[in-house]
C-alpha cells in the first residue's frame, strides 16, 4: 500500500484514500468501488483503464461528488491539495467543481448546451468563478479558444454547438475545462466515438496542453494504446478494485497482475495476424456488480489460479518501484506476447495461401448510391475471391456500410451490378430467390439489436434454417458457435453480448452461405468478449470455406483478420491490396493518415505520437472533379490533385492505389513524414477494446 505514496518532492495534488462507493439497487447496497487508493502529482498524467463495469466512471464522478442517484461514498477520502471533498459545504463544492477540478467527457455533442452560444457557455466560468463582467468573460474566452488552436475564436464564440464539427466541439469542451486553470483535469474517454483523424487532432491538442502546464490529469480510457501514449502512471481497475498500479511502461511491458496481462493479450495489437498470433480471450465474464467474492476477484477467470486465490483476497503488494499488484503470484504473470519472438517458421507455414485471382465469388461493378445530394457510394468496383477475407476500412461517412447493405440487397443501389459467381443478384433482397438469399448472409454490429429480443435463440435459429433451407438443426448451429444448448431456450434479450453475437453468427451460417458480410461485428463488445468472437469468426471462415467482407473502423482488427484490405474515403475505394502491403510503405496518403492516427506503443520506449494532424474535413469541401482526399492531403499538388480525378496506380502487382503520385514519389515523401520508420509488424499499437 505504501508504494502508492508519491516519491516526488511535492505532495500529490489529488489524494484518494480507501474510497468505498456503493449504489443502492432494489434496496440492497452494491459496492462499486472497493478501497481505492490513487495519488496524482502536479504535472502527472495518470491513466485509468478497465472494461465496462470496472468502476472507472464511478471513480471520476465520485471525484466530482456527482454520483448518480442511489450512489454514495461510504468511506474514505478524496483530497485536493489537502482539502477533503467529502467534507465540503455547497459553496466550497461549487468552487471545487469547475475551478479546481474540471472534466472533459466522452460525447462532446451532448456535453454542450444546444441552445446557448459557445461564448455564453464559456463565459459563465469566468463570470461565476471570477466575477468578471460579461464583456471581459468573452474576451478571456476568446483568449482561451486561441490556446486550443482555434484561429477564428471570435467567430466560434458566436456559434451554437451544432454549427461545429465533432473535433471542434471537443476542443471547446477542453477549453471550457481549462478556462479556470484547474488543479486537476479529468479526461473521461475524451476521444472515444471520434473518427480516427479527428481523434488525432484532439490528442495532439491534449499533448500540447500537457506540455505547457503542470497540472494533474486523470486520463480515463479503455484504450491501452492511448494510455501508453499519454500517461506516466496507470491504474488498472477490475470489478471496482485497483488490481495493478504503476509506471505506464512497467505495467504495459511487464504486467504483474494476470488481468492486466490478459487485457494486453486479448486485444489485436496492430500488426498481428490471425495465422501467427491467435488472440487469447479471457474466459468467463466479470463478476456482477455487488457480487461478494471470497477470494481474488479475478480468480474465476485466471489461468494461473491457485487454491489460495480462492480463499482470501490478496492485498496490493509492491512489485517494483512505485508499482503495486493485487496478486499472490505477480512473478508468474506471463509478459504480453509482443515480447515473445515471432515464430517465423509458424508464420511461413500457415500464412494463408495468397489467393490467386481466379473467377471471383462476388463481383461488384460500378455500384453507386446517393441520398439526395449526398453521395454514399460512387461507382464501386470490387472482387471477392472464394475463401477470401476482404477487409473494408474507412471513417464514418465513407460509405462502407452502404456498400455492404447494397451487396446484401437491404438498400437498393442507384446503378451498378452485384454478381455472384457471374450471375447478377437482384438489387432488392425481397426479389432474390432462396439460393441467392442463402449465399449472402450478414453478421451485424449491435448484439442487442441483431436478434429479436422477444424470440428464443432456438426459434431464431430454426426460423433461419427453415427459411433458408439449411440442413443443420438449431442445436448443431449452437454447437458450431459453442453456445451451450440449454441457452437456446432463453429469450435473446436475456443473453449476454457475446452470446448474442455468437447466435447472430450461427444464424448467418444457417443456410451454408458463401459470402458472409460482417459489419463491425465486434466493435460494441468488451475486449475479452471481442477476442473470443474474433477467434470464432476466423475458425468458422476456415472450416466452412466461406468468404468474408469484413467491415471495421478498427485497423488492427482488420489487419488481424483480412487477407486483402480495401480503404474507402467519401464513397470511393482509394486503396486496395494484400493486407500487409496496404499497411506498409509506400502507402496511399489517406491510409497513411489513418495509420498515423493510431496511438503507437511498442518496443521498450514509448514513442510520442508523431501523428500528422490532417486538416479537418469540412462540409464545405466540395466534391470536385479531382481527388476527394486532396483538400486534406499533405502531398496534394495544386492544379492537378484538386482538378483531375486520380488514376489507379499499381504499387505492386496486387496493390493498387488511387493517387496522382507515383510509387517513387510516394516513397520519397512518406520517408520524410514518417521519419523513415515504416510500420512493421513488431511495432505494436494497441487498439480500442
Amino acid at each position: 500500500m505504501s508504494a502508492v505514496t508519491s516519491t516526488g518532492a511535492s505532495g500529490p495534488v489529488l489524494r484518494i484514500r480507501d474510497l468505498e462507493v456503493s449504489y443502492s439497487r432494489r434496496g440492497r447496497r452494491q459496492t462499486a468501488l472497493h478501497r481505492v487508493n490513487l495519488d496524482i502529482r502536479a504535472g502527472e498524467c495518470h491513466g485509468l483503464v478497465g472494461e465496462s463495469g470496472s468502476g472507472k466512471s464511478t471513480l471520476s464522478l465520485a471525484i466530482m461528488r456527482h454520483l448518480s442517484s442511489g450512489g454514495q461514498v461510504d468511506s474514505g477520502a478524496v483530497e485536493l491539495a489537502g482539502d477533503d471533498l467529502l467534507k465540503m459545504d455547497s459553496a466550497a463544492l461549487r468552487d471545487w467543481r469547475g475551478r479546481r477540478v474540471a472534466m472533459v467527457y466522452q460525447d462532446p455533442a451532448k456535453a454542450l448546451n444546444p441552445s446557448m452560444r459557445i461564448g455564453e457557455q464559456m463565459g459563465e466560468i469566468y463570470r461565476y468563478h471570477f466575477g468578471t463582467g460579461r464583456q471581459e468573460a468573452l474576451t478571456r474566452a476568446e483568449a482561451m479558444l486561441r490556446r486550443v488552436a482555434f484561429d477564428n475564436p471570435a467567430d466560434i464564440l458566436s456559434r451554437f454547438p451544432h454549427q461545429l464539427s465533432g473535433g471542434q466541439q471537443q476542443r471547446i469542451v477542453i477549453a471550457m475545462a481549462l478556462a479556470a486553470d484547474p488543479e486537476l483535469l479529468i479526461l473521461d474517454e475524451p476521444t472515444t466515438g471520434l473518427d480516427a483523424t479527428v481523434e488525432a487532432e484532439v490528442l495532439a491538442l491534449l499533448e500540447t496542453l500537457r506540455a505547457e502546464a503542470s497540472r494533474a490529469i486523470l486520463f480515463i480510457s479503455h484504450n491501452l494504446g492511448l494510455i501508453g501514449r499519454m500517461c506516466e502512471r496507470v491504474t488498472v481497475l477490475y470489478s471496482g478494485r485497483v488490481v495493478e498500479q504503476g509506471p505506464t511502461g512497467d505495467v504495459l511491458q511487464r504486467p504483474k497482475h494476470p488481468y492486466a496481462a490478459a487485457l494486453l493479450g486479448c486485444v489485436p495489437h496492430f500488426g498481428i495476424e490471425k495465422d501467427t498470433h491467435p488472440l487469447v480471450p479471457i474466459p468467463g465474464s466479470p463478476p456482477a456488480l455487488g457480487a461478494l467474492p471470497v477470494g481474488c476477484v479475478f480468480a474465476p477467470r485466471c489461468a494461473n489460479r491457485q487454491p489460495r486465490c480462492m480463499e482470501s483476497e490478496p492485498e496490493l503488494a509492491t512489485v517494483g518501484v512505485g508499482h503495486v499488484s493485487r496478486c499472490y503470484y505477480p512473478d508468474a504473470v506471463a509478459p504480453p506476447m509482443w515480447d515473445q519472438p515471432l515464430a517465423a517458421s509458424v508464420s511461413e507455414k500457415t500464412r494463408s495461401h495468397p489467393i490467386e485471382p481466379r473467377s471471383p465469388l462476388l463481383a461488384v461493378r460500378g455500384l453507386s448510391k446517393a441520398y439526395g445530394k449526398q453521395i454514399a457510394c460512387d461507382s464501386i468496383d470490387l472482387d471477392i475471391q472464394p475463401g477470401e477475407v476482404l477487409g473494408l476500412v474507412g471513417e464514418s461517412g465513407s460509405g462502407k456500410s452502404t456498400l455492404a447493405r447494397m451487396i446484401a440487397g437491404l438498400s437498393s443501389a442507384d446503378s451498378g451490378d452485384v454478381l455472384l459467381k457471374g450471375a447478377p443478384l437482384d438489387r432488392d433482397v425481397a426479389r432474390r430467390g432462396r439460393a441467392q438469399l442463402r449465399a449472402v448472409q450478414m453478421v451485424f454490429q449491435s448484439p442487442d439489436s441483431s436478434l429479436n429480443r422477444r424470440h428464443t435463440a432456438r426459434f431464431i435459429l430454426r426460423r433461419a434454417v427453415s427459411a433458408l433451407g439449411g440442413a443443420r438443426s438449431a442445436e448443431q448451429l449452437a454447437a458450431l458457435v459453442r453456445v451451450p444448448p440449454e441457452l437456446l431456450y432463453s429469450r435473446a434479450g436475456r443473453l449476454s453480448g457475446g452470446q448474442k453475437q455468437r447466435i447472430a453468427t450461427a444464424r448467418a451460417f444457417a443456410g451454408d452461405p458463401e459470402l458472409v458480410i460482417c459489419d463491425e461485428p465486434v466493435s460494441s463488445l468488451d475486449v475479452s468478449v471481442q477476442a473470443a468472437v474474433l477467434n470464432l469468426l476466423v475458425e468458422l471462415q476456415e472450416r466452412e470455406k466461406v468468404s468474408y467482407l469484413f467491415i471495421s473502423h478498427d485497423l488492427a482488427v482488420v489487419r488481424y483478420l483480412a487477407d486483402r484490405i480495401a480503404v474507402m474515403y467519401l464513397g470511393q475505394i482509394v486503396d486496395i491490396g494484400p493486407a500487409d502491403e496496404v499497411f506498409s510503405a509506400p502507402y496511399h496518403p489517406y491510409t497513411a493518415a489513418l495509420l498515423a492516427a493510431i496511438p503507437k506503443l511498442g518496443g521498450p520506449k514509448f514513442r510520442s505520437g508523431s501523428a500528422t494532424v490532417l486538416p479537418r474535413r469540412s462540409d464545405g469541401d466540395r466534391m470536385g472533379a479531382g481527388c476527394r482526399f486532396s483538400p486534406r492531403c499533405p502531398h496534394s499538388i495544386k492544379g492537378k490533385c484538386d482538378l483531375v480525378p486520380p488514376p489507379w496506380q499499381a504499387l505492386s502487382d496486387r496493390h493498387q492505389v488511387r493517387c496522382h503520385l507515383t510509387r517513387d514519389e510516394l516513397i520519397e515523401r512518406q520517408q520524410v513524414a514518417f521519419e523513415a520508420t515504416p510500420v512493421v509488424p513488431m511495432e505494436v499499437g494497441i487498439q480500442p477494446m
Binding site: E51, S52, Q106, E189, T191, T192, G193, L194, A196, V198, E199, H222, E395, A408, G409, L410, V429, A430, R432, R434, L437, V440, Q441, M442, F444, Q445, S446, P447, D448, S449, S450, L451, N452, R453, R454, H455, A464, A467, L468, G493, S496, G497, G498, A504, A510, E520, S523, S524, L525, D526, V529, H553, D554, L555, L594, A597, I598, Q687, P688, M689
Partner: protein, 290 residues
C-alpha cells in the same frame, strides 16, 4: 483510432416487455391500487346495480320531482321524480359498455395502420399521415358531431365515431416505435432470409411494441369514456330515458339552479370513474416506461 461504439455490452434498447419488476412496481404503487379500487367499484355497480339500487332507476314519481337529497333518496330525485342514486348506479352500465369495445377496435385498427406506416414508410406513410392529419386537424368533438348527425345517434355509431377518431391517434403513437424497430438489425436479418413484410410486421416487430400498445390501450380507455359521455352530454349518444351520466348532466342543466344535485352526483360518478381508470393506466405506463 476511432470507435463508433464504445466498449461495453450495456443494453442499448430496454426490453419493453413487462418484466417481473413492473409488476413488483405496480404492487407498491398506491395510485395504482386507488385506481383499481375505484374502477372495480364502478364495474361492480355496472353489473350489480339491479341488486344495489334502492329504486327502479326508470320508475317515475310525479309526486316528488326534484326532491333534495334525504334519507329516502340519498341523492334526491330528478325532474321526473326518479331516484338519482339508483340512476347513478345504473349509469355505470352504458359507461362501461361503449368505451371498452371502442378501445379494443381502435387499438386493432390503429396498430395495423401504425405498423403499415412505420414499416413501409415512403408513400404509404405519407399518405396515411396526411389522412390522419386531416382527421385530427379539427377538434375531435366537431368530427364526432359531423359524423353522428350524418349517421344518426346510436350506440353503434358512437363506437364507430370513437374508432374513427382514435385510430389515427393510436396509429401515430405506434408508428414511432415501429420505425425505430424497423431500423434494428433483426429486421434486416429477417429480410435477408426472405421473410414477407407481413411476417416481419406481425411476428418480428409487433412483439417488441406490445408494451407501447398496452399503455396506449389503457390511456385510450379513459379517453373513450371521456368521448362517449361527452357525446351523450351533447345529445348525440345515449338517448332518454337512459341513466347515462353525460345525458343526465345535460338534462339537469336546465334546472341546475333549483336542483344542483341532479347534475352534481352524475358528474361526481363520472369524474371518479375516469380518474380511477386514468390512475391505473398511468401507473401501468410508468411501470413499463421506468
Amino acid at each position: 483510432m476511432s470507435a463508433e461504439v464504445a466498449s461495453g455490452t450495456g443494453t442499448v434498447l430496454p426490453d419493453t416487455a413487462p418484466q417481473p419488476g413492473v409488476l413488483a412496481g405496480l404492487a407498491i404503487s398506491p395510485s395504482f391500487w386507488v385506481g383499481v379500487a375505484i374502477t372495480g367499484f364502478w364495474i361492480a355497480a355496472a353489473i350489480l346495480w339491479p341488486l344495489l339500487a334502492p329504486y327502479d332507476p326508470f320508475k317515475l314519481d310525479v309526486l316528488s320531482p326534484l326532491a333534495p337529497p334525504s334519507l329516502k333518496h340519498f341523492f334526491g330525485t330528478d325532474e321526473l321524480g326518479r331516484d338519482v342514486f339508483s340512476r347513478v348506479l345504473a349509469g355505470a352500465t352504458p359507461a362501461m359498455s361503449i368505451a371498452p369495445v371502442a378501445t379494443l377496435l381502435s387499438i386493432a385498427t390503429g396498430t395495423t395502420m401504425g405498423l403499415l406506416a412505420g414499416y413501409y414508410r415512403g408513400w404509404t406513410d405519407a399518405l396515411l399521415m396526411r389522412v390522419f392529419d386531416a382527421v385530427l386537424s379539427f377538434p375531435l368533438v366537431i368530427t364526432a358531431i359531423l359524423v353522428l348527425t350524418t349517421l344518426g345517434p346510436s350506440r353503434v355509431n358512437v363506437v364507430l365515431v370513437i374508432v374513427i377518431l382514435f385510430t389515427p391517434i393510436v396509429a401515430r403513437t405506434i408508428r414511432v416505435p415501429v420505425m425505430a424497430e424497423r431500423d434494428l438489425e433483426y429486421v434486416a436479418a429477417a429480410r435477408l432470409r426472405g421473410e414477407s413484410a407481413w411476417y416481419i410486421m406481425f411476428a418480428e416487430i409487433l412483439p417488441n411494441v406490445t408494451a407501447v400498445i398496452a399503455v396506449e390501450a389503457a390511456v385510450r380507455l379513459g379517453y373513450a369514456t371521456f368521448a362517449a359521455t361527452t357525446l351523450s352530454f351533447l345529445g348525440l349518444g345515449a338517448q332518454r330515458p337512459s341513466p347515462d351520466w353525460g345525458l343526465s348532466i345535460a338534462l339537469a342543466r336546465t334546472h341546475i339552479q333549483v336542483a344542483p344535485w341532479t347534475a352534481l352526483f352524475p358528474a361526481a360518478a363520472l369524474a371518479t370513474f375516469i380518474v380511477g381508470v386514468s390512475l391505473a393506466a398511468d401507473a401501468i405506463r410508468r411501470g413499463i416506461e421506468e
